[in-house]
């Protein structure tokens, strides 16, 4: 049978409009509803993880006062905070949330190509979250093995939750990966198959490029975590020795023998490093769209931006062992992985340059989403540059496993993607809800978040230079530490609590504006991409009414010379006296 693209079969599609409340909002197959379901669950667990971080900061900042926190609990907070933030918040919100929302809308599709599987993806994700949260309520509590779950300690005596918590964690991760795989296959297939007429790959908005490549990374990387999780479950439950060597436990020789703890680390980081980019690439893409829209200017160097995303994605599979320079693996690997890691800095730096150059000679509207996007460039530049310390094997030697690492990855992997999430939520909120958010509250939220997080993490790098180890319940007396460090710890804790409270302003704004916000126009920012051109706001089921939009230009025709308006939507034909700007998608 001859191949016919989905857009060309549009008249044959049946939309199966949902009839009841349950099919519309609960067992929904509409990508927009699923996106919101994903987002709400992710934000909910994210708030729990934020609460855990406040508990950790209380212990570190005010140990004399926070005596109700035991070492076990502290390590459980460390573990659950990290795992929830990286997997259940960031991955789920970027891909399950924004991936679901933006892919069909920005590509001019009616929905994902496999709506039923999309729905299943969310419900399995919810199940994984429930399994994870149950571990808080079992006798020994959740695992306290650190979010990297390194064996042997993850499943041996002396680690909190070595009995039940770790089993729930591994089960939950496995479920999450099942959910991700169902969603991920869907996103990739939709991007490849369901783009509307005229939407060539090189006309796709960068958000889609970021989400698309990140999803491919996820589909290739998560299986490594899945096998590692299953192998560790087997070690724990039926006593195999994949990762468990012969060792001493409670004064007795254990039953295990011959397993390799470092094998687990390789599997974990073969997943774990691409995971950084699974989070970062959608953030790169979305922040590009936010910057271009609010700068009223095309994104600078679109083709380079696309190839940088693809290049970073490919390189991300050959840098994993830079997390393992001092793990005891063959130290000669250090030469290879330091080189690949520093090479990946080149495309990443180019992306930063291009974002900044997008602002050059723009007509900058300093809206709330724009502020967050600019804040992101600052924090990402900071976090990216400190990555050059840790990626360079020799420089990593004194800094590895110190607070420098904590400062670095919270800047680059915590604050930066979260600032993009906020930018994106504010940016697309009018389209998602049909209401405008409160501008003043959004601005307050921005300032406290940006300045507060910097007050937490900048000093952390320097405490790391001293050599203070991370993951310490208490420093005790240490020859490298004087009282100034404890004072600074208290200061960082105060900043952390302020930042945490600030997020309540954000929540309030989102909920309050839902009801009392100004009614949003369909295209409040003057966006060029298709989601702003839907006939209804919020977009109705099926997104486009009778006819699918047809794309005539790339995604960044802002301020085209000769055009009347300072933006030209992608679906505006060239013939109406509107010139087509520079377009790489079609051979003219």
């Amino acid at each position: 049978m001859a191949y016919v693209s989905i857009a060309d079969k549009d008249h044959e599609q049946h939309m199966h409009d949902p009839q009841s409340f349950i099919t519309k909002y609960i067992w929904s197959q509409d990508h927009k509803v699923i996106a919101i379901q994903y987002a709400l669950v992710a934000i909910f667990v994210g708030l729990i993880a934020m609460g855990l971080s406040v508990m950790m900061r209380l212990q570190l900042g005010f140990p004399e006062w926070a005596t109700f926190i035991t070492p076990e609990e502290y390590y459980q907070y460390v573990t659950m905070h990290g795992m929830i933030m990286v997997i259940y918040l960031l991955t789920a919100l970027f891909l399950g949330g924004f991936g679901n929302y933006l892919i069909p809308l920005q590509l001019g599709a009616r929905d994902m190509v496999f709506p039923y599987m999309n729905m299943l993806s969310f419900w399995v994700y919810l199940l994984s979250v429930i399994v994870l949260l149950i571990s808080f309520f079992i006798p020994d509590g959740p695992t306290g093995a650190g979010w990297t779950l390194y064996p042997p300690q993850a499943i041996s005596e002396g680690t909190p939750g070595d009995g039940g918590g770790i089993v729930f964690m591994l089960a939950s991760l496995s479920l999450f990966i099942v959910a991700f795989t169902m969603g991920g296959l869907n996103y990739v297939t939709t991007v490849l198959q369901a783009r509307t007429r005229g939407m060539t790959l090189m006309r796709m908005p960068l958000s889609i490029w970021g989400i698309f490549v990140a999803t491919i990374l996820g589909l290739l990387a998560f299986p490594a975590l899945l096998v590692a999780a299953i192998m560790m479950l087997l070690d724990r439950v039926i006593g195999t020795s994949f990762f468990m060597p012969a060792m001493l436990t409670l004064g007795e020789t254990s039953e295990f023998s011959g397993g390799s703890p470092i094998l687990f680390q390789h599997l974990f980081w073969f997943f774990g490093h691409p995971e950084v980019y699974i989070v970062a690439l959608p953030a790169f893409g979305m922040v590009s769209d936010v910057l271009a829209t609010h700068a009223r200017k095309n994104i600078f160097g679109y083709r380079m931006m696309v190839w940088a995303i693809v290049g970073i994605g490919a390189l991300s599979f050959v840098v994993w062992a830079h997390h393992m320079y001092v793990s005891g693996m063959n130290p000669y690997f250090g030469f290879f992985f330091a080189t690949t890691t520093l090479i990946i800095a080149v495309p990443t730096a180019l992306k930063v340059y291009n974002w900044v150059l997008t602002l050059w000679k723009g007509d900058l509207r300093l809206t709330v989403p724009m502020l967050f996007a600019i804040g992101f460039i600052f924090t990402f530049t900071h976090g990216g540059l400190t990555g050059l310390f840790l990626g360079n094997v020799t420089v990593d030697l004194p800094l590895s496993d110190t607070y420098f690492v904590v400062g670095h990855f919270h800047m680059v992997m915590g604050v930066s993607p979260v600032l993009v999430l906020f930018a994106a939520i504010y940016h697309w909120y009018p389209k998602i809800t049909g209401r405008m958010f409160n501008n003043t509250l959004g601005t307050i939220h921005f300032w406290f978040t940006l300045l507060g997080t910097y007050a937490i993490y900048l000093p952390m790098h320097y405490i790391g230079f001293l050599g203070v180890p991370r993951r310490y319940y208490a420093n005790g007396t240490m020859d490298i530490v004087d009282e100034s460090v404890q004072l600074q710890n208290a200061g960082m804790s105060v900043a952390a609590i302020i930042v945490a409270l600030t997020q309540l302003i954000f929540l309030f704004n989102m909920i309050w504006s839902l009801k009392y916000g100004k009614k949003a126009p369909g295209n409040p920012w003057g966006g060029t991409t298709l989601e702003w051109q839907t006939p209804q706001t919020p977009a109705a089921h099926g997104n486009w009414g009778e006819n699918l939009p047809e794309v005539h230009r790339w995604a960044y025709d802002f301020s085209v010379p000769g055009a009347e308006k300072d933006f030209t939507p992608q679906n505006e034909p060239a013939s109406d006296g509107v010139p087509v700007g520079r377009d790489h998608g079609v051979n003219h």
């Binding site: 140990p63 005596t67 076990e72 005596e157 001493l248 004064g251 095309n298 180019l350 230079f465 020859d479």
Partner: protein, 453 residues
């Protein structure tokens, strides 16, 4: 506009913080000055980029922000190949400038010099111990299977190379001669650990089932903390050791005092009959059967782990216990130690105590058992869920022992009366762990729970 000013201020603040903050690399005490140089190079390159990118961004915002009522249109410039190529080239040069020195220094790190002396560092939850090769310059074979109370290092007794190995078992302190290139061979008995000395700039994980290494040359005499920097369970933060860098003569003096594996294996077992004579003096306070007497402030001795009793007696002999200000009850032991003049007499008396029957001590403390159980979950990691103590953790028995004595010791740890002496590394751990007992009530609660075990 505010955001542009904020960006400028953040850059200025970051620079100010960098130069003015009291925290930077700890003064170096090893040969790895080159590592600090690579850090300096990285700082220069990344610092320039950090300042340039953010100030340029601030400039763009000031110059091109939309001003109300002013007609303004963005420029349409999708690409600029020349600029993009230039930026790529400059970035690549900057990256190479950081990477090249890094790789050169790493090459030194992975290739220890021929004349490096090997020292084995052994990690376990949550202690450090050390082994030196002895006169033959070779370390004997080890295996987890051989590990026991009398052979905690797990040395193969069939391997002649192991007999002269020098064992530093329970001081958590390693001495090294200055200016001697040293290759540490790292081995773990249980989970992952990490050997890190900030002043030496190096660190490396200890991985059970294999031997890893790192090397350095200590260049400054002094005492430095060994920190575990790989999460290894609930007392990870309390896993501390010390490395003391000596002048060669001091090092030799120290070395002479250490025992070899053969010494330990050949040491005669304590003789309870001989110990009985010594015990007569102990019995005056601790009771005929070592059951303890509260009126004389003497704790129960029977049922206690012999390794622990021997270590504490040694501590009294060396003035590690009983000498600190405020330890009035501990001080009464000190003069009596003359009755135990040597290691053999200590072994004998402990052997005698071991031969005595052990009855559970009378319970004198009550408290909230459920709170106590919750607190004890931390303690159980070393002292065991049954409170009987675990030899490999160097943790004494608590259950069925005199509870008022436990309460006093916990208080002593809290007040720094016990555990502060540098010769008592395990006591130091208790100093850190008693942070979870905020007040007397918590102490009573946890002891009340121990009384139920």
């Amino acid at each position: 506009m505010a955001i542009a000013i904020a960006l400028i201020l953040l850059v200025v603040w970051s620079l100010f913080f960098h130069f003015a903050s009291p925290w930077y690399l700890t003064p170096i005490a090893s040969n790895w000055g080159m590592i600090d140089t690579t850090i300096d190079i990285t700082f220069v390159v990344t610092g320039i980029v950090f300042v340039a990118v953010n100030l340029f961004m601030a400039y763009c915002i000031i110059k091109f922000r939309h001003k109300k009522g002013k007609q303004q249109k963005a420029e349409y410039e999708p690409e600029n190949t020349k600029l993009e190529v230039w930026l790529t080239v400059i970035t690549t040069i900057g990256i190479a400038a950081m990477l090249a020195p890094g790789l050169i220094v790493w090459n030194d790190f992975v290739n220890p010099p021929q004349d490096a002396v090997e020292v084995e560092v052994v990690g376990q939850q949550w202690h450090w111990s050390f082994r030196l090769p002895g006169e033959d310059g070779q370390l004997g074979n080890v295996d987890v299977r051989y590990m026991s109370k009398s052979n905690p290092f797990g040395i193969d007794s069939e391997d002649p190379a192991g007999l002269d190995d020098i064992l530093i078992g329970d001081s958590s302190t390693l001495h090294l001669p200055i200016n001697q290139p040293t290759k540490v061979l790292l081995r773990s008995k249980d989970v992952l650990h990490d050997f890190a000395v900030p002043q030496f700039r190096i660190k490396m994980d200890l991985v059970p089932g294999m031997v890893t290494y790192a090397w350095f040359t200590p260049t400054k005499t002094g005492t430095y903390d060994i920190l575990c920097e790989e999460l290894c369970g609930i007392s990870h933060h309390a896993m501390r050791g010390k490395v003391i860098v000596d002048e060669p003569s001091d090092y030799q003096t120290w070395l002479q005092e250490q025992v070899t594996f053969a010494d330990l294996q050949n040491r005669p077992k304590g003789d309870p009959e001989l110990g009985k004579t010594n015990f007569a003096i102990c019995a005056a306070c601790h009771g005929q059967n070592g059951e303890g007497m509260q009126v004389l402030n003497a704790p129960k001795l029977t049922g206690q782990e012999p390794l622990y009793l021997k270590r504490q007696l040694q501590y009294w002999k060396k003035g590690i216990r009983g000498a600190s200000e405020g330890d009035i009850y501990g001080a009464t032991m000190t003069p009596l130690m003359v009755t135990l003049p040597d290691q053999a007499s200590i072994d004998n008396v402990v052997a005698y105590i071991e031969s005595l029957p052990s009855e559970p001590a009378e319970k004198t403390i009550s408290g909230d058992i459920s709170t106590g159980r919750y607190i004890y979950s931390t303690c159980s990691a070393c002292h065991g869920a049954d409170g009987k103590g675990i030899w490999s953790m160097n943790a004494p028995a608590l259950a069925d022992m005199t509870d008022w004595y436990l309460a006093r010791q916990l208080k002593n740890y809290k007040d720094g009366i016990r555990g502060k002496h540098p010769g008592d590394p395990y006591g130091y751990q208790m100093n850190m762990m008693v942070d979870i007992l905020p007040d007397e009530k918590a102490i009573n609660d946890v002891i009340a729970y121990i009384n139920t075990l």
